[in-house]
Symmetry: C2
Subunit: 767 residues, 2 copies
């Protein structure tokens, strides 16, 4: 992949247009505001290769799947977030020639994503067949202030001619998913209405019966002045629009400002939906483009204020991490506990916009440190789906709750037995998230309320899912797939056994704590969940006699039983032509190789740093890292953090680079499908938990920061138990600036420091 993105602190810039990279940049230039989002495709349409995607969070469709080898317990559909009404459409005809960047010539093309302000602009000069040149400037933003509102502006200036310009300003409900299995359309039109003031269209999803109304109005601005205009009203099935033509004088500008509102039956009564859309649109139109934009920018500034990481001395690293933070904040802000974080956010169809364990294992800490209520809503999301998780376990003949591998509404929607049925460690990550939240915030209210119910049901699942080996006289977990999906159906994945036993421990501890603090709640749980002494005794027995595979001669954890029977070679022994393995090797060859897709043993070590000393961590890292191909975008960040912990700074930085600019550099050659939202959280963690060494132990915030060699320093802000802190790491010292909240004792390199609002604390960094 050629370097196509210009380095910049706050901007992502593409210079020059190339059809070959169009899908890639469509992904990169995705915008979202939690409620809705879209890829960076063109307002005017494009006849070349393009993935036109406009998504609304939570609006999904159960696309039926068909496999020849159906297994009991398989869902019969794959729920996917679907392409919905295309509301950006503004077709442009210049003297009868249709603007289309796949045709004609393009000059001075520049696309720019301003991450600070959250807006996308595109400028270029288009030269038609007969040499007529027109300068264009497109701008769009999705309001963070009112997330149902979006605005687009198109400005055209004829450079070497005067002539008619015609705009088609439309809403198009006739959209499909590219990944539909049977070419189905997921939408039916419910109603449409248009007049000189506004156009509105309401579509309904088949099966799931979601209603979506989009309303639109436009304004004509000629030479920067509002201009009254007459337009022609157009409509067809699933489509409404206006046609308006104007004579543009050479050198003078003509601009369309398009205002859009998008609302759904997830938030409003179906009956009122159209009215809500029209009212919101009218209010937005009254405010006008500039005011709407300013309101939006203010919210963006707040977000940056809370979550930015500033890096000194490395502009590419700066651009990379800001892009990660930007996309995370575009995707999810935690306003709606029914929503979650799809691995591609609003940037593509892949992974169907569904929820994976990525949320708990990777994304949660980002929100936890920057916006606690968002983290809490992520936890609450799973609680809302506990009923389905119980059903899911039941379908597989198990007890307790098994949260789905992939879900939209709590039901499993993935069918690949080695994943769906066997990658059960996901249940552990959901338990761990409850711990993580409680440990970081010190706030036990979620644990005591829904959290403990989830923990009990997950513990029940583990207690039923283990089996007792008569031969080895211990509890085992047979037939699992660990985080390393390059081994399937293994016995005793060390990570899975670890997180399972830990869940039982944490559940028992939490029950004791609830018994101490809120006996009434404890009694209620006993009664409502039929919790008995025998059950807890069994959990204790499992904790005590759980089996953990171990390699005695190397003194490391064995990834799973028989792992050491594999031929032991290193990634460095591979012919680089074979990488990535998943694009070059047959599946059986991958499975029987020792190569690790993503952090597995190291994921466990990452989760429980206090359990393992430096030597243990180092031995395991030394063994597994050279065998890891990092072919999941979630791998390098975890390895980077553990590398920081054991003082492998060069390695930590090298691994950090793999994640932070993963999409901007298109390392995995798949960014055209969408950007890797969930792995972006890992990049943030690699700095905060890795380079800065942040953790919370026994209620105390701990830091052991260092600055990667190539950088001059970095700083970030976190929220911690009512305080807001800015942590500024320089080569020789770290400074804690407390922005608000009560005084705090912080441990830096295991020495205590006092932090208080208005007075910076500074600690030296010794190499």
């Amino acid at each position: 992949m050629l370097k196509r993105i210009t380095a910049d602190d706050w901007k992502i810039i593409e210079n020059g247009f190339s059809p070959e990279t169009n899908r890639f940049f469509e992904s990169i230039f995705s915008l979202g505001n939690e409620h809705m989002g879209l890829r960076g495709f063109f307002e005017e349409g494009y006849s070349g290769d393009s993935l036109q995607g406009t998504y609304v969070a939570g609006i999904y469709y159960p696309d039926p799947t068909k496999v020849g080898w159906w297994k009991i317990g398989y869902p019969d559909y794959y729920a996917k977030v679907i392409n919905s009404i295309n509301w950006i459409g503004i077709g442009v005809d210049l003297e009868g020639r249709h603007l289309d960047l796949a045709k004609g010539r393009v000059r001075d093309f520049k696309r720019e994503l301003d991450m600070k302000k959250g807006c996308l602009s595109r400028t270029f000069t288009w030269i038609g067949k007969d040499g007529q040149e027109t300068r264009f400037a497109f701008n769009r933003f999705l309001s963070m202030a009112d997330t149902s509102i979006a605005c687009i502006s198109v400005k055209a200036v004829p450079l070497n001619y005067s002539g008619n310009i015609t705009f088609h300003i439309y809403l198009d409900g006739n959209v499909q998913n590219e990944d539909t299995y049977y070419g189905e359309s997921f939408w039916d039109e419910v109603n449409k209405d248009l007049n000189e003031e506004y156009s509105v269209i309401t579509m309904r999803t088949k099966k799931t019966d979601f209603y979506l109304s989009a309303a639109s109005r436009f304004k004509l601005v000629v030479n920067d002045r509002d201009f009254q205009t007459k337009s022609q009203i157009l409509q067809k099935t699933g489509w409404v629009g206006y046609k308006t033509s104007h004579f543009a004088e050479r050198g003078k500008s003509i601009e369309i400002q398009k205002f859009v509102s998008v609302v759904t039956s997830r938030d409003h009564e179906k009956e009122n939906l159209e009215k809500v859309a029209i009212d919101k649109l009218a209010a937005a139109y009254r405010k006008g483009y500039t005011k709407l934009f300013n309101e939006h920018v203010r919210v963006m500034e707040e977000k940056w204020e809370n979550s930015d990481i500033s890096i000194a001395g490395d502009i590419e690293a700066q651009q990379g991490i800001r892009y990660c933070i930007f996309q995370l904040n575009q995707t999810y802000s935690g306003k709606d506990p029914r929503l979650n974080i799809g691995p591609k956010g609003f940037s593509g169809e892949k992974y169907g916009g569904a929820t994976y364990w990525d949320t708990e294992a990777f994304c949660l800490p980002f929100y936890l440190y920057t916006k606690e209520e968002a983290a809490r809503n992520l936890l609450h999301y799973r609680y809302l789906q506990l009923k389905q998780a119980r059903e899911n376990a039941g379908k597989l003949g198990l007890k307790g709750a098994l949260f789905p591998m992939v879900t939209m509404d709590g039901h499993e929607c993935h069918n690949e037995w080695e994943i769906t049925f066997e990658e059960i460690h996901r249940n552990g990550a959901i338990a761990y998230a409850i711990y993580n939240y409680t440990n970081y915030t010190g706030n036990e209210s979620y644990l005591f309320a829904g959290g403990i119910e989830i923990l009990i049901e997950i513990s029940r699942f583990w207690a039923y899912r283990v089996s007792y080996s008569q031969r080895k006289e211990c509890y085992m977990i047979l037939g699992v797939t660990g985080p390393n999906e390059y081994e399937n159906n293994v016995n005793n994945n060390w990570y899975t056994n670890t997180i399972a036993a830990w869940t039982l421990e944490y559940t028992l501890e939490s029950l004791i704590r609830i018994g101490e603090v809120e006996m009434n709640r404890y009694r209620e749980l006993e009664k409502e969940l039929d919790l008995r002494e025998e059950e807890k005794a069994l959990w204790r027995d499992i904790i005590e006699r759980m089996y953990f595979p171990y390699v005695d001669d190397l003194d490391i954890f064995e990834q799973n039983d028989l792992y050491m029977d594999k031929e032991q070679t290193l990634v460095s022994d591979l012919d680089p032509k074979d990488l990535p393995l998943n694009k070059h090797w047959s599946w059986d060859r991958i499975l029987r190789s020792c190569f690790v897709k993503q952090a597995d043993v190291i994921q466990g070590i990452y989760f429980f740093p206090e359990r393992y000393n430096q030597e243990e961590m180092t031995r395991n890292f030394n063994f597994y890292e050279p065998r890891t191909v990092h072919e999941s975008s979630l791998s390098a960040s975890i390895y980077s953090i553990v590398a920081s912990r054991i003082g492998y700074r060069k390695k930590a930085y090298e691994l950090y680079l793999r994640t932070a600019r993963l999409d901007l550099e298109n390392y995995n050659d798949d960014t055209e499908d969408g950007v890797h939202i969930t792995s972006m959280a890992g990049s943030w963690l690699a700095i905060v938990q890795g380079f800065a060494g942040m953790s919370v132990q026994d209620g105390q915030l701990k830091l052991s920061p260092y600055v990667p060699e190539k950088w001059d320093g970095y700083s970030f802000k976190i929220a911690f138990r009512g305080r807001r802190l800015k942590i500024d790491v320089k080569k020789n010292y770290v400074e804690i600036e407390q922005i608000e909240g009560e005084p705090l004792k912080i441990s830096i390199f295991n020495r205590g420091y006092h932090s208080q609002t208005g007075k910076a604390a500074r600690a030296p960094i010794q190499e």
Copy 2:
């Protein structure tokens, strides 16, 4: 399943019609003649539930498959034998009422398959809405004498009225597979032609470009006399037919005889195909129904002469085994080495009519003992596909040849990684078949010609596929699925390791033998296959240091690594409601249970009886049989044979019963999909190799027969090295009647007996 089939020595009889069992009986009453075949569906059409299937051997279609989790090496289609021109169609209208057994009333319905003659008859009285009764008799046969010819007769007698009867006699190319993935039609019409003498239609498969011509002519017979008639010519796309009406007098019969020829571009030039069909039809028509039928019956008699098993004292067992033999002979007779034996033969769509390891592991011995040239053609079939097997190994990054799991033309056409990529023991069965043939016939010509090339390439596959375990200092085979498909992706399946090491041994032995007998051929192999000393040395090293999992305390072979870590329970511990497991348990639960789908360790013991003593066989049988659910139709027969070997006669008989009437009793509740052709060979083996204890060791035929308690005796014929023998087993003695060939020394209970033509040898049986 209610007992619906009347017991009879030579017939399968259904009395009374029931729509609920229609698909079941359609399967049961399938007919075939190796070239073509069809299910027992109705000539006149049927508006109720039915699977109308007419198949022509070797005419297949690559139905595209789509899976979300594509793996490198997956084929992108599933090749299936497809439903082709329906040539039985004879619609009947009685005074304007359309004959349809789903409508009106039916009385005295009887369907009868005469296995001796190979013909299907159906008689019933149909009572229309207004009480008019008509007696019908349908007869059909597919000629074994000229396999492109089939005949049908329909005779109608109005019982209580006189009136018009109209027949529509047609060929219908507009057929589909029920199991098509995307509802595709696989056929295009090429041409059709019809006149007063004949109708002909030529269809072409999409993609595979097979041409199929069917021609048809009919004769009207009134009151048993030929009758000249005028008929109306009808045609539409893919369809040609005649309409002919006659006034039928009460009590007098009116009969249509339909003659059909079916030929394909597999056997004839496309350009001549239609002419071939017409000429064959004309010749058949000239011969007439009776002569054609007699010619057919003569070939049937020959088949029975060679392959019948006669059982005294148990009519159900007799009917069961004859049904097995009948269907095997209908499906394959070895005339065409491009053909093979689909698990459902011509009786349904399931398993796509493709070739599985069933052929070598189960079917081959039946043909070997009854029709050597058929067995040889089965071997040759794989040789013809050696090139594709090499390619297949290459696609998976392996060396040598990997024969496909499922195939039509040598290319893999199944995509389920744990099967396609991992069930590699199939390669061993193909090697074993070469040994089996050579050992039984004493004829080394196939081994020296194509056989050795296959053996070398399979050996190369094994040598590349093993890996060396540094930890255990031995060779292992990781990541396989054994015959027991209820464990996936295991290490060191004992059966697979056994057959792999054995293949290497047999290949080395065969090379030594070729070197001794035909040095030129040996030199040629060395040169053409680049066979070097180092390679053979590696094979020897693998043989010597192959790892075989073993359970020390029980002194048994361990099915695969870690099998003994599973919770050890028995089938008898299961709630019978949970059986069959594959219809009640989720896949992960099955996988981590100790339950065995089909003979696995016992399959290896079956293949190599001389390696294991009675105690070893017994210990392994005692351990594995109580854990085996026999949810593959191929399991019980193998267990039955080994039970016979270790003197577990009651068990052997019980297991035999599970296979011999599997379809007639619909034990697996899936006969409606088609009958289990390949497992029928297992039933035959359970008698010949099991009860009669037949084997060939060091070139000598050995017997150790007994009669199951419930029977009075049984007899069968085999061909052995130029002799034909009839083996007649009574309670107290066994008699060998030699029908032809040179004198022979036979070992019975390890004592030598002399057999010679015309003089029976008799040996006592001591209990």
